[in-house]
Symmetry: C2
Subunit: 155 residues, 2 copies
């Protein structure tokens, strides 16, 4: 076995980190709009069909507004904030569960005072995200909750 | 959508529980030896190929000693204890990651003073666990660490 069965939780400077887990950019710079997000792949194995990742959004930061055919299964690990799922907005706090169904616009935003960290299970075999165009954004804004959420997202 | 995208974390009487998540027996009574374990399926969807479950082992309790062809990807969510993986034993604490490779004997045991709660990602499509027979146990006990772990497991 090339890797120990146990990899330690080793928080560093207030960030959630693990032994032998690389801290990655959330996405390549410029590929999609986001703010202050990191990504760590906790489990990805050739013999498993799911993957488990950890994302950390700095205070006031946000993930990309996107959708895709694959679903997300999310468990909030630290902090809180809000999530947009389709046309609805929900407050989220530590250990809450968030399901993002297929082909559903979604975006996570951290509260102003603390980082938002969450686990996200996805299929290893999955499609790439799509970004909204102007008409997609217009349709989303027909929901007052979604409009308020999008207006509050700092670029 | 039949279910809200967000299901709240609602701990009850010191146990980790979630809105709309059923608390289940770990296994059917008598099917396999274990002690004081509950199981909650946090995410199981027809359109995802992984599942995420939460297990809680009461203080001093333990999961079944077993192996199977599918792998486990575990994140400790609360408490601590020890885990046997193959012939090796590791201390585990909150947020540590544990990989159980295919066809590897494994057992989780909670410390004496607090429950051990962990997330476990598995493939939705997976084989059933096997229990050790006398010769499997004998082989495991060739490792002093495994022998000490098994001796300390209360029945």
């Amino acid at each position: 076995m090339s890797e120990s069965p146990v990899r330690r939780f080793l928080p560093a400077d207030g960030d959630y980190r693990w032994d032998a887990v690389e801290l990655l950019r959330y996405k390549d710079e410029g590929a999609a709009p986001f703010r202050d997000v990191t990504r760590q792949t906790l489990f990805r194995r050739a013999d498993m069909r799911g993957e488990l990742r950890y994302f950390e959004v700095a205070a006031n930061g946000h993930s990309t507004l996107e959708r895709h055919e694959h679903a997300h299964a999310v468990l909030i690990l630290r902090g809180g904030g809000e999530v947009l799922v389709g046309a609805a907005v929900f407050a989220i706090n530590a250990f809450d569960l968030v399901t993002v169904p297929p082909s559903t616009w979604h975006q996570f935003r951290a509260s102003a005072d603390a980082p938002l960290g969450f686990l996200c299970m996805v299929d290893a075999d999955r499609d790439k995200p799509q970004l909204p165009d102007a008409s997609d954004r217009e349709r989303l804004r027909e929901s007052p909750a979604a409009a308020a959420f999008l207006a509050a997202t700092r670029r």
